[in-house]
Symmetry: C2
Amino acid sequence: MRISDLSRLSGVPITTIKYYLREGLLPPGTPTAHNQAVYDDDHLRRLRLIRALVSVRGLSVNATAELLEALSRDDGDLHRTLGLVLGALPVGEHPAGDQPAGDTVPRARLEEAEKLIEALGWRIHRRSEGRLALARALYEMAEVGLPLRVETLVPYARLTERIAALDLDQLAGDEDDHIDIAERAVLTTILLEPVLLLLRRMAQENESASRHGTGEEPR
Amino acid sequence: MRISDLSRLSGVPITTIKYYLREGLLPPGTPTAHNQAVYDDDHLRRLRLIRALVSVRGLSVNATAELLEALSRDDGDLHRTLGLVLGALPVGEHPAGDQPAGDTVPRARLEEAEKLIEALGWRIHRRSEGRLALARALYEMAEVGLPLRVETLVPYARLTERIAALDLDQLAGDEDDHIDIAERAVLTTILLEPVLLLLRRMAQENESASRHGTGEEPR
């Protein structure tokens, strides 16, 4: 296919595709006469993954290039592929987990996050961004006077386990096609976030109606 | 208590408290000699709710004033109180649900959101912001090539029902104290959002390790 087809099928403008080609995110097409090039389905799938990482996950073009480079070394390990595109695994030499955390998050909150992960029995990469991010979120809640105990969080976490199982079910398919799964993992994970939060708000409204409602719709 | 105590106990700076007093969000204290005023626990609880609405829910001072005014008319209906502070119920004359929706969200997505709510059997206010927001989120997913069917969303929604039940359990307590419950509802609902999303990401990592992992930690 020509670059115009690639643009139409991916929804990415031609000028942006040319930029990705110059930056090496996309490998060059096969040259033809008339100084043109043709592209194949691999280009299309890789371009869709780039779009998901840049537009949906919000990575910079440089970070996306690093991540694609790391993916190309993943020799068939789907767990590693998913970890990389979802940000659970450190891509390069400067992962978030290595930043000095003590400056902003007190040690007690870090220990609490570790205690929760242990209580759940979850297998989480030791340098996962999630550990620090969770500690920071717990810290922010404690700061406004709403400290959460591990016992309070466990039942929430058990429900997110079941949400994660639904997420992974959606990714099932051709498990050899890591590029395609990686793209769908990014889209499903990130785009479902606002949907899940909205569903929770509406479920709260429904639950509140059951517990406290008068039967009439409030004004 | 004096204004300095109010500031210390609420974490709101004195200049901000004076601003809220001028704008009428907080009723004046009882005047004493020396041109000072004293405040009571009602001031403190109301100030905490204002802080939650402004700093955490991100409302403007005007919107907060309108909301407090609407709350003062709620004559003991806790379901209505929760609906107002969580944004499920329209406060004034220009609720989000009345905005022309057809401009940005196609009718098909609005119908899909309605179909989901009906399939779930949820009691959601007809002018709830959630209806339009859900339709918009479904539209955005379809736009990037990931349309979600109602059948796919129902199991997610059932899990959010159970999350909402945990949320409401946390608010249980002195149900006559609407100001206090309203503050905790805002904090619990909004501050738990990033925590829930992080737990989902980590649960995905754990689930992926179970399904695809090699037993070794990825590099």
